[in-house]
Subunit: 473 residues, 2 copies
Amino acid sequence: MTLYVNLAELLGSRIENGFYRPGDRLPSVRALSLEHGVSLSTVQQAYRVLEDSGLAAPKPKSGYFVPASRKAPALPAVGRPVQRPVDISQWEQVLDLIRVSPAHAITQLGRGMPDISSPTLKPLMRSLSQLSRKQSMPGLYYDNIHGVHTLREQIARLLLDSGCNLTANDLIITTGCHEALSASIRALCSPGDIVAVDSPSFFGAMQTLKGLGMKALEIPTDPITGISLEALELALEQWPIKAIQLTPSCNNPLGYVMPESRKRALLTLAQRFDVAIIEDDVYGDLAFNYPRPRTIKSFDEDGRVLLCSSFSKSLAPGLRVGWVAPGRYLERVLHMKYIGTGSTAPQPQLAIAEFLQSGHFEPHLRRMRTQYQRSRDQMIDWVMRYFPEGTRVSRPQGGFMLWVELAEDFDTLRLNRALLEYDVQIAVGSIFSASGKYRNCLRMNFAPKSTPEIENAVRKIGMMIEKMSAQTD
Amino acid sequence: MTLYVNLAELLGSRIENGFYRPGDRLPSVRALSLEHGVSLSTVQQAYRVLEDSGLAAPKPKSGYFVPASRKAPALPAVGRPVQRPVDISQWEQVLDLIRVSPAHAITQLGRGMPDISSPTLKPLMRSLSQLSRKQSMPGLYYDNIHGVHTLREQIARLLLDSGCNLTANDLIITTGCHEALSASIRALCSPGDIVAVDSPSFFGAMQTLKGLGMKALEIPTDPITGISLEALELALEQWPIKAIQLTPSCNNPLGYVMPESRKRALLTLAQRFDVAIIEDDVYGDLAFNYPRPRTIKSFDEDGRVLLCSSFSKSLAPGLRVGWVAPGRYLERVLHMKYIGTGSTAPQPQLAIAEFLQSGHFEPHLRRMRTQYQRSRDQMIDWVMRYFPEGTRVSRPQGGFMLWVELAEDFDTLRLNRALLEYDVQIAVGSIFSASGKYRNCLRMNFAPKSTPEIENAVRKIGMMIEKMSAQTD
């Protein structure tokens, strides 16, 4: 990435995160040039990018300002989850979401599906097709339980970008990130154990806790800085917490990237209380800023972080190829992986290894990041236009999920049922809480390129919300 | 299958199972014609097949006899496992087996790999390749958590052959049979629970019990009729057994097909003590006799049988497509499947559905059954020729695994280590017991067509056994 784009993204994210407010004067070209060690013209180019995206406006002789008209929607409030470990509910609601088959008739804004129509995926399809034509051992047999070696090598290289120095032997390939999380949880915890989670939190990992008989302790989470370290510390003092499970980079569903300093502080806390961290990084490669955020794992010195990820968000979920870097828990996670599914299908592993090795992944990621950032802005605009006044939305720094908070007494479960007749679906907020909180919230997917159909779907959701709000009044 | 082949197989299996002994007179042509309602010439044709395979010899004017010279190797003894629930060990030994990558340099007789070189698999590879070329929703997205609907329909049709009347909605697609077993066990049991298993038993299912903190109670198992119902009844009276987990058709590792009457009796026993049965049928479609054996599930009226299977043995393990018919436990198994891996990769499901729908599966199975039956006979011959006198071997009625029992004090763990220098590997017997029994046994794969290389490998194993036996003397 060129220097000016990099700088534009940095400034842009500061503006978006409210570091500079509407009407504020932005740093001078000279100051930025000194601060970042780049030329004046690089800074000028960066400002032109910001101008184009409406984040900065020049005033003659006074430099650049954040446009006063820039209407930044309010952020969701920090959640107030139950302050004790709870049994997890919401399976029925999750089931409603995952029972749906992909169908063209419905505008599915509920599921965590990336856009898979990009031409940058073509080489992957070619590899898959070529491999499938071969009736050969490596593709059709059980592979080594650790997974295809060349793929593990490629992932180890990839992990350098997030600050991790790992080798192929530190990694286990899994059947999606789901299995990585599940095997990690099973390796660390027994029924009755307490796991601290960010809140709102990914429902899949919480259902895993539920299925295995563990309790979740939801920690309040800030929509910009992530899990509250203060609340977490209190919880660690009060409860025998076995592990901390969270998504610190491009969080699902809130979209924040936890600042590096807080990631380090979280690790220190985990060390102090001697608990393990299960770090879900499945959206991490889709951070809009370059370079991508560091993982907590990258600061880990005593192997207590189990880094879980997959190609489900960066390539395609149907490939079912994920991985885990389980640190000191490797042997135990390997056993848990084996008893879950045996070894993972080798064909997609081989195809992805080829895709990475041939250098196709980076251009693909670049393209998707740009697309997702654009469609995020478009989706936020639509939500502001079509949803009732007072609607709060997250400000995703990566990935393709928007978190929307409606009036406190609104029920998105009822909304989603009503939306069925419009062939539109969203993810209801309550599945992101162990105890069914966030009923007035919803999650929307903005992965596809913006189209009139999607705008229309958002408009319908907004109309339905207005209609239902009027009924309850 | 034509009538005479059918009849020849039936008679052949009776001879092989010792129902008719060497020197015995076989039923007359007329008697068989009446008994089976077929023509005299059909019976004569069947006898000619038996003549060719050395199982019957004509005596002028006296009819057919079992050749007196027919040397049937002794069967393995019925095991004497520990008669109480035990914690499962042997993970290190299993790991040795599953850590191996498929490599041409080594003659791998240890793993449960089918022969994947048959031309009857070509249409499957074509479908896979064509599907992979498409960058489309159904192949790359998350599918419905139940699995691809057309595949479930095809499997339901397939299950008719084993006597099951099920619909697509009774089935959940899983990531191999391994996940079917794992999700079933997790759905039924909690840590500390006792599960009764056949002994020897499939190590993968036992390791699942281990990983989930359950105890195994090994039930003595006859190499021809299967799990001892008498011992099982005693165990059910004595212990709070939660489930019975077994492979009654083409058992792994013993190869027997439990007679129908005993399958029914087992179910009655399970009803009486109100326990669930986890029935692993993964080799069931590879039974040498036609029609294939009925499953215990086919007699199940109150939904207590969870039928687990996959295409790993009948097509290829690398596809990782299995299924479970969980009866009354469907909702719970679905939750356990979801928390393990999410939904299963759709591409191989779609390809297999196409393969089944186009009628390619039956001819493929026919071919493989014939091949496996032939190579079974060849492998038994080699073992009898090259292994020490007194070696006992199983008489597999399907699948492609041979169980070999050596002198009581022989250690196959040491043997396998010594075989490394010969580039040959077997599966050690101890992994098939929860408590590490059967150290003097080994399992050998006879799936590939017989070749001089395989004969050579068997010869080397025999030599090494002789050498090690001499050392211990």
